[in-house]
Each structure stands twice: as C-alpha cells, then as structure tokens.
C-alpha cells in the first residue's frame, strides 16, 4: 500500500536532460524507482540514462503509460510544465522547482483543477515510499521501511524527522514534502487524509512552520474525523521575527492562526502530541505508537 507512489508507479522526469534532472534521475533510478523516461522539448527521440526522451508529456504518456511526473524545470517555465503534465494525463505531479512567481502558480493551480490529478509542491523535496520509489531529491538511505507517514513543508527537517523516527525503532511508510510556497498543490490536511486512509500507516508526523493556516486546518480535520491514528506535530519558527515575510495588510488574512504558538495550541486542542523541540520528534512518535 503506502500512498501516492510505490514500486509499480511509472515515472517520467520533466527537464530530464538538464543538470538537476540528470543528477536526481540517476539517484532515483539507483534507489530502484521505476523511471520510464523523460521530457525535454526539442530532444525527443534521443535516449538519456538509458531511457527514452520525449518532446511532450502527452507523447511520453502515450508511449510509456507514465502516471507520475517529477519536474526539474527552471522557475520561469515550471508553472507551464505543471499544466502540461496535468493536461497530458499525469495523475501525480511532483514539482521540485524553487522560485516560481506567485502569479504563475495562481494560474496553474486553477488550470489543473479541471483534471483528475494531484500536485505535490512546488518548492518541495518530493515524495518517497521507503524502499519502493523515490520521487524527489531526499537522501534515500535515511528512509527505512516502516509504518509512520511524514508530511512536512521543509526538506531537511523531513530528513531529520525520518532519521529520528528510524532511530527510535520505527520506519517510514511514505514521506511527503508538500513545499513551503504560498501556493501549493497538496496541503497538510490532504496529506494527513491520505495517511489516515492508508492501512499500512500506523502513525503520522506532521511538520509545519509559521505562516498560513494549513496546520490548523489539518489539526481540526484530524479531530473532526475522530483522531483515528496517533499524530505528532512540530511547528518550526517559535523564535522567528514577525513581519519579515508578509506585508502590512497580509496580517488581516488568516492572521490569528499564523504564529507557531497559536498553531501549537490548536494542535494540542485537537488531540495532537506536540513536540516543543525538534530533537524529540522520533521518541514522541515511538511513545505515541506504543501507548
């Protein structure tokens, strides 16, 4: 089981022949991920890393029956790549690219809503189902097979949490890096829901940070759905200075749930075990699963 990707997923890489795409595609293949090809406009018909290259996602899907795509396209063209993947029939689109203009993402998000697909990211480390499929840029060796699902906005903090969970004697079913941009495809709540419905996942680590209301939304959803599995939560940014990112008027929208302390309080009220320090995520999860 696990969620979103597994050993049967058929994966293409958009931006396949570029430096980033090449490096990470190699790492993914080495991990055992079923990469079936890639897309680079203008290089269709060539072969790269022993896999076929296509001009368009549509052609790649037709030839390989790909259902998952990972995007390593420069920021100016990444929103377009997301829309192409959705229109081309991809079901799970993982966008790694960092630095996409906000207005581009607003449009792309609305455009892909008409297709039966799920976007992860952008500006994220990707998804990994331990020992089956790595569709991302995370260090694969950290993720040992197990029963804990991780959802996180941050890359290295995901690796940190996964490492602690594994050292605590547990392992990871799937880890989803949802990304830290203002507009993202899959929210914390969406990811939590996937894990709650996955029979292989027995506990969930939910890592957030200051800004936005996604963690509060996820926490309320967990409570409303009966706290079916233990959840450990951590919010980074208790010491972050206020007002460094959002403008004056920004505080009007969603301001009340924005701070780390507010989010942690909401999580506690919703029956989530809150880790005050990032150093205790693993041991708390172990305790929660055993109790």
């Amino acid at each position: 089981m696990s969620v979103l990707v597994n050993k049967n997923s058929r994966i293409i890489v958009q931006g396949f022949t570029g430096q980033e795409g090449t490096f990470h595609a190699e790492q993914m293949i080495e991990y055992g991920t079923n990469v079936v090809g890639g897309v680079t406009p203008g290089k269709g018909g060539q072969s790269h890393l022993g896999k076929p290259v296509f001009n368009t996602v549509e052609a790649a899907v037709k030839a390989t029956s790909a259902d998952v795509s990972i995007i390593f396209v420069p920021p100016a063209f990444a929103a377009d790549a997301i829309m192409e993947a959705a229109e081309g029939g991809i079901k799970v689109i993982v966008c790694i690219t960092e630095g996409i203009p906000v207005q581009d993402m607003i449009k792309a998000k609305q455009y892909i809503a008409q297709f039966d697909c799920r976007l992860i990211g952008p500006n994220c480390p990707g998804i990994i189902t331990s020992e089956e499929a790595k569709v991302g840029i995370m260090p694969g060796f950290v993720f040992k097979k197990g029963t804990i699902g991780i959802v996180s906005k941050s890359g290295t903090l995901t690796y940190e949490a996964a490492d602690q969970v594994c050292r605590a004697g547990l392992g990871i079913s799937t880890a989803i890096g949802i990304g830290g941009d203002p507009i993202i495809g899959t929210t914390t709540r969406d990811a939590v829901e996937l894990f709650m419905n996955d029979p292989e996942t027995k506990g969930i680590v939910m890592i957030g940070e200051i800004g936005g209301g996604m963690e509060a939304e996820a926490a309320r959803w967990i409570k409303a759905n009966g706290n079916k599995k233990p959840v450990v939560g951590f919010i980074a940014g208790q010491t972050a200075p206020p007002g460094r990112r959002m403008g004056h008027a920004g505080a009007i929208i969603g301001g009340k749930d924005d701070t780390a302390i507010a989010k942690m309080n909401i999580m506690r009220e919703c029956g989530i075990a809150v880790a005050e320090s990032p150093a205790v995520i693993g041991e708390m999860m172990a305790k929660e699963v055993k109790s």
Partner: protein, 398 residues
C-alpha cells in the same frame, strides 16, 4: 522586494493611476528646486516633505511635514534629511532618512468634500486568489480598523483567468458610498491598480490613503509596493529599484554568497542547511536556554567558501557567544562541510567563541572523525538532542 513610495508611485503612474505628484531628492537644495518645479508644473503652493524609508507610520515619527512657503520646505527638508526616523514599524533603532519626496498637497478645498479610503491588493493564501481589500476608513492603521470594526472592511476576490471585471469595480465603488464623478474615477482607479498588481508581479500594493479630493478625483497619496522576488527574472528593469541602504549590511553581504541570512538579536549564532531546519534549530537554541542571533540557511550547496562566509558574517556580531552548526547531509556531503569548517577556522585565525558542530546524514561518521582529528576546539555531536545539550552547557558557561 520593497519599494519606496516614490518608486511605487512612478510604476503606478505608468498604468494610468492618478498619484500625488512629486520629486524624490537627496539634498536640501534639490528639495527647494523640486518645490519650485512643482509650482511651475502643477501650480503647487503647499508642499509635503515625506521621508522615504521602507517602513510605515512615517507621519507618527515626524517624517512627514507640510510646508506652505519655500522657506518652510527648506526648513522641513533640513529636519528630515539625515534624521534617524523611528516609527512603530522600524523598531527602536529607527532608520536613517537618505531621501525625501517633495510632493504636491492634495488636501485642498473644504474638508467635508474630501475623504480618505483604504485599498490594497495581495494574495489570499487560503483562497489561492488575489484579493482587493478596501474600506471607507482610510488614512489610519488598517489592522486597528480590522480588529475593532471588521464590518467596515470589504474584500473582492479576483478570478486568476480574468482581469478585475467591470461589475466588480462598480461594486467596490458602490460599497465605498461613491456617486457621480468620484464613483467613475474610483472604478477606473481600482481597475488600474489591479492591472498594475498583476503586470508588475507585485505581492502587495497598498494605497493608504486613497484620497477623494474636494473636486472628486481619486488619488494615491501614498503607495506601498512590494514586488515578487521570484518574478524579477522577467522584469530585469526593476532590479535597479532595490535600495540596499535599507537592508541590514550583514544580510546584503550574505546575499552575495547566496546565503539566506536574517539578523536577530540573541547570543547564539547558527548555520544550518534548509529553511525549516534553520527555524527549528533557532527554536531549539531558545529551549536550551540561549537565544538565536540569526537565521542562516546555507542551502543545498554548502561548501568551504559558503561556510567560511557564514562564519565571518556571524562573527561580525559582537553579541554572539557561541555558534551552532547544524547540517543534515543529503545531497550535501558532511565531509565536505567538515572540510569547510576546518578551512574556515584556519583562514579566519583564532575564533574565540565555542563552536558546536552537529553533522548528520551522508558521510556523517567520516566528518566527525575529521573534526575530532583536526585538533579544533569544537564540540561535536551527531544527534540533534546531543547538540541541544551542548548548547545548554555552553550558554550556561558563557
């Protein structure tokens, strides 16, 4: 990227938005010239001298003054240029004023015939759409209006596939209680503001006050504009609008090395890879009894050069009593980072504050061995918990 008021107004004018006209200057002589010029061009006989800094609440701090003679323009410009302006948004240390905007006065005629409105455009993260926030209660702190009388704040969300539609612009003008020429001018004003927001790739346009003059014009008297840094790739011409004198010198230095640095006011410096882990590390420092001196994300390309630059920037802060390096190696190899630390140590010479090094992930064991063998006086840790305990120990001893 934050823009000054005068820069924001220049950009808005290109979209046909009516603004309070003026000239930005850096000297008292130029201020008088600008006032004369406004007199010739615009028949101005009352002027406003406005400090140009990246912070709101300038009027409250004495950074905005009205002058009704050229002598007074001189006097006010002398007062404001070079002053250290403290406003509710600058913090206690204030900001030095290097430029003033000499602007025409728009508050002519009878007070009862004028009105100040509030208007802003920004992203609503929840709805994933741009939203226009507006109110008839302009000219004051909008957060206060929102807290005390939320019913006086209106919002209009815009479909990303279309511009602001005419019916929406009409609704905004009607909700603000406007009629006649003022109504027509407001419809045009808000339509242009929204167009400018999208085409400039702004993340915020805030016009407070948006003024209805006594002769029913709708004018941007102030302009706070922020541009999306990610979109500067397609607006290269705007890169010049950056004013680095408004930024912390350490942050400017860090940006040269692609380091994401924010200066804080604590006693433990930190250097981390990844923004989330960096924030988490700051939190951990606080829980361990210290207080973070900075946020520093060295990104996915930590190497000897960036580690050394990071060290130098952190050490330039005299408040720093200890440094914690926390790297979770993925693509970044810990042995490379360890080599960077050893090189930096040798290049910088004597580092007097204790250093805690926590390297985990790819090649962590090799890295720890390198650090241990180097003879450097550093505390090394592998697990985050050990690093936290070391911070407690070091802070207690400092």
């Amino acid at each position: 990227m934050n823009l000054h008021e005068y820069q924001g107004k220049e950009l808005l004018k290109r979209y046909g938005v009516k603004v309070q006209e003026g000239h930005a200057v850096e000297s008292v002589d130029a201020a008088i010239e600008a006032a004369k010029q406004l007199k010739n061009e615009r028949d101005a006989h009352i002027w406003v001298v406005k400090a140009q800094i990246h912070a709101g609440g300038r009027g409250k701090g004495g950074g905005v003054k009205v002058a009704d003679t050229l002598d007074k323009v001189k006097e006010k410009a002398e007062q404001i240029l070079g002053m250290n302006l403290v406003t509710p948004q600058t913090g206690a240390q204030g900001k030095r004023v290097n430029k003033v905007l000499i602007a025409e006065d728009m508050y002519y005629g009878e007070a009862k015939d004028r009105h100040e409105y509030y208007m802003s455009v920004l992203l609503d993260r929840e709805k994933k759409r741009n939203v226009i926030i507006y109110s008839a209660e302009g000219g004051m702190d909008i957060e206060e209006v929102a807290a005390k009388t939320p019913e006086k704040i209106f919002k209009e969300w815009v479909d990303p596939a279309t511009p602001l539609e005419p019916f929406q612009a009409r609704r905004i003008a009607f909700n603000l209680g406007l009629t006649g020429d003022a109504y027509k001018n407001m419809v045009r004003f808000v339509t242009m503001i929204y167009k400018a927001y999208v085409e400039l790739d702004a993340t915020l346009i805030e016009i407070n006050p948006t003024l209805k003059t006594s002769d029913n014009k709708i004018v941007a008297v102030d302009a706070k504009v922020k541009l999306d840094d990610n979109a500067l790739i397609r607006h290269k011409e705007y890169a010049d609008l950056r004013d680095i004198t408004e930024e912390d010198p350490a942050e400017v230095e860090a940006s040269k090395y692609n380091l994401n640095f924010i200066k804080l006011f604590g006693n433990v410096g930190c250097m981390v890879n990844g923004a989330g882990l960096a924030m988490a590390t700051m939190d951990m420092i606080q829980l361990a009894g210290g207080s973070p001196a900075n946020f520093l994300d060295v990104g996915g390309t930590a190497n000897a050069q960036t580690v050394e630059a990071g060290f130098r920037i952190i050490l330039s802060d005299p408040n720093v009593k200890a440094i914690l390096i926390n790297i979770f190696g993925g693509i970044v190899r810990c042995d490379r980072v360890a080599q960077g630390i050893i090189d930096a140590y040798n290049n910088i010479g004597e580092i007097k504050v204790p250093i805690i090094v926590r390297l985990q992930g790819t090649n962590a064991d090799v890295a720890k061995e390198m650090i241990d063998k180097s003879g450097l006086k550093v505390y090394s840790a592998i697990e985050l918990k050990e690093a936290a305990e070391l911070v407690s120990k070091v802070v207690a001893a400092a």
